[in-house]
Amino acid sequence: MTRVIVDPITRIEGHLRVEAIVENGVITDAFSSGTMVRGLENILAGRDPRDAWAFVGRVCGVCTTVHSLASVRSVEDALRVAVPPTAELIRNIMLTTQYVQDHVIHFYHLHALDWVDIVNALKADPKKAAELAQSFSRWDKNTSAYFAGVQDKIKAFAASGLGIFANGYWGHPAYKLPPEVNLIAVAHYLDALEWQKEVVKIHAVFGGKNPHPNYLVGGVPCSIDVNELGAINSDRLNLVARLIGEADEFINQVYIPDLLAVASFYKDWAKWGGGLTNYLSYGEFPTKGYNHPESFKYARGVVLNRDLSHVHPVDARDPQEIREYIGSSWYDYKGGDAAGLHPWAGETKINYSGPKPPFETLEGHAKYSFVKTPRWKENPMEVGPLARLLVSYASGHTDVQELVKDTLGKLNVPVNALFSTLGRTAARGLDAALAMIWLKEFFGQLMERVKINEVSTFNGERWEPKTWPANAEGVGLVEAPRGSLAHYIKIHDGAIENYQLVVPTTWNGSPRDAKGQRSSFEQALIGTPVAKIDEPVEILRTIHSFDPCLACAVHLYDPQGRHLHQVSFE
């Protein structure tokens, strides 16, 4: 039995440590630990609720905008503010843009190197790579001269030391792609890096900057007036239209074709990494207002035990449904370690009880993470693109059903292939493809509203604190790119009394609960093969398939404290 420790887990946001038990080349148990905390919930107490979006936006700069959106929704929910339809459309445009950009970044820059061997791409024949790429995509850059140019760049780069690509697991037997596919993926890695800075200009138009564009309780901060220079006018709308067109091309002619090409060589990964069997989605993209989830593009609900014939309703306000536990986390609750608290009654009292750093392992510590453990009716849930697709599929959303069936057909795999590391990664691509369709739709609707001059972007009826009740509570739900996100706020006398966040990686990356039930990361690692314990690329594949968002780290120590690849024990 070997305890393989990976810290830092790189190519994620934040600081994550994984300790996995490997027996006979297969993972039999795992521990996921978040090793950084900032105490933002404590910092929010006493602040102006209208400022909260700016504070909590800084929870994450990778999934930028989503926390700000959840925050303004929570305050609007508490104060009963209806957002003008044009503002709702702009928010939808912001969020679909975020899906599209974030998923491309994840696929190429955070996840691809688990599947793509950059060094092997040097062996590719650029002409063959071009023929192959042209067979599955009409993207006009895919020529042999282009691939030869990329190969030259990588050669020169390799000669100068590889920089960010140094010390990867290159040549590991788990890499299965032919050199030409590796070259195509590397070329598009470079292109995706260049393209992603373009699409976020949509955020800059409506929110002034990216990362961390501006939001506003009651609407959006920008104004629309096609007869003014200082507002969103026809020039700005033209820029957004062009960026959307380019994004459509990149998603459908680069990302999706590459995803399918890479996936077709890794079908064995449809067997591993399935993890939990429960899926949660809050639903997203309101088309008739936030309080009408039945009109959302993605459905709200829960799928239990992979039973797609039944969707359970979710009520985020019900104190019996969503609760957070700290039995394995470095916090104290007034009610003790066994208590589960609904976020409106949530507490954030940090109490680190782990080993004194520097330490080698968290083994033997009942508490081993700064991440709390959320449960839905006591059940651990997976959240993220796969969960969203499954809940909408089971809810009868035909656009989702058709896309899922079509993709499974192209890969020639059965529906249960979705419940895997590969399925999770493929689901993210479909999530981006759907978001792209909806982004175009929302922008078209925005243009229609501009035509008829229905351009109000702000409802100021409850702007002044004197219009607020003495006590109010609200919840802001968002399906963020990484999954279900909830912000809970309590307002007292115009100030924040309590603010709690239950974020996607809290669901997926949390430690086990008091009953010993594992959360997504830990459960998904079980059964995953590890060919070489000193180069555990398989752990990265499954962990990265969730697109974790915390604070990160992979280190292996022996009992003497020297750095080794593993710790062996009886």
Binding site: D7, P8, I9, T10, R11, E13, T35, M36, R38, G39, L40, I43, R47, D48, R50, D51, A54, R58, G61, V62, T64, A156, F157, S160, G161, G163, I164, A166, N167, Y169, L190, E194, Q196, K197, K201, H203, V205, G207, G208, K209, N210, P211, H212, N214, S223, I224, D225, G230, I350, Y352, P357, E360, T361, T457, G460, A551, A553, V554, H563, H565
Partner: protein, 354 residues
């Protein structure tokens, strides 16, 4: 460098400046010279502590150069947890190799503050505290850049009550730090600082808070295209009112442009597309120390007579938000004394040589 037309003397002078600013003293000059004479790209490590990765995300939004050209041609980024292929043991090897093989020559870029509360357990990588890692990488660094407000002034986790003891980098290391604040800093500003250091081979001129004057020498208000509206008394009174659509001044909506030193209204964001004020929201002052506690954001600043456009952070910064600046300024004075003594030392040696 010499191939680019610099004389030997100019080159040695430049290295003296670079080494001086990097706190290496005279012995360091030879190291810096050899670093730039070789074709080898400068080795750079990017550390991640208490942060949200918005600085990394901003960096990859750069429009000139685009980030991939910078990574391939300008610098050798040997460690960054966000993008590097290696993980765990292999990632740590990349860091250790850089420290060992480029001793005294590598550049450290830091994203995030360092928590000093409870013996540093609030941020650990590989079982080690952020503070111990910072000390290890800083010891033999040629220069240290603090990316963003977290590393420069503690940013959000340093806001009251600062539960984890979040501390900016310049308070923890015994050498000068170039502060590039902002939440995040503008991508092209970050790239400008990289160019200043690694291509021009100069430590940029810094203000009393260690910020490059090139980008932080002017107030957002003084360079804002809406400034004439302020001068004419034309203000937005409510979001999306008639005045908002006309693009009037956002001062009454709480805009912090008058007390914020940053390049937003000139460089703008995302390849020059916009900046917060242009898109209808006031500046929240994200590049100023303590800005999170300088709210509420929508409450307008006290009556503001307007400083002359020639004012800089050095002269005005002590008036506005004086309390929060005292500590920073004290540090800056110590830093600048240290720098001056090293510069004098180099000049003395230069005169001996000539």
């Amino acid at each position: 460098m010499q191939e680019k037309g610099y004389s030997r003397r100019e080159f040695m002078q430049f290295c003296a400046v670079a080494a001086t600013a990097a706190g290496l003293g005279r012995t360091g000059v030879a190291q810096v010279a050899s670093a730039f004479e070789k074709k080898e790209k400068p080795a750079v490590v990017w550390m991640h502590f208490q942060e949200c990765t918005c600085c990394s995300e901003s960096f990859i939004r750069a429009s000139h150069p685009i980030v991939i050209d910078a990574l391939l041609d300008v610098l050798s980024l040997n460690y960054t947890e966000t993008l590097m292929a290696a993980a765990g043991y292999q990632a740590e090897k990349s860091l250790n190799d850089t420290i060992r093989c480029h001793k005294g020559k590598y550049i450290v870029l830091v994203e995030g503050s360092v928590p000093t509360g409870d013996e540093g357990v609030y941020c650990m990588v590989g079982g080690k505290t952020a503070e111990s890692i910072l000390q290890t990488v800083a010891k033999d660094a040629a220069a240290i850049v603090a990316w963003g407000s977290c590393a420069s002034n503690g940013c959000i986790q340093g806001a009251k009550p600062n539960p984890t003891g979040a501390t900016p980098i310049h308070k923890l290391v015994d050498k000068p730090v170039i502060n590039v604040p902002g939440c995040p800093p503008i991508a092209d500003v970050m790239m400008g600082v990289v160019t200043h250091l690694l291509v021009l081979g100069q430590i940029p001129a810094l203000d009393s808070q260690g910020r490059p004057k090139e980008f932080y020498g002017r107030r957002v208000h003084d360079t804002c295209y809406r400034r004439p509206n302020y001068d004419a008394g034309l203000f937005v009174e409510s979001f999306d009112d008639e005045n908002a659509r006309k693009g009037y001044c956002l001062y009454k909506m709480g805009c912090r442009g008058p007390i914020t030193y940053n390049a937003c209204s000139v460089t703008r964001w995302n390849g020059g597309v916009s900046y917060p004020i242009q898109s209808g929201h006031g500046c929240i002052g994200c590049s100023e120390a303590g800005f999170w506690d300088n709210g509420p954001f929508y409450q307008h600043l006290p009556s503001f007579p307007g400083f002359g456009i020639e004012s800089t952070a050095d002269t005005v910064g002590t008036v506005v938000g004086a309390a929060t600046l005292v500590g920073v300024a004290a540090h800056a004075v110590v830093t600048s004394i240290r720098k001056r003594s090293v510069i004098a030392e180099v000049h003395a040696e230069d005169q001996k040589e000539s």
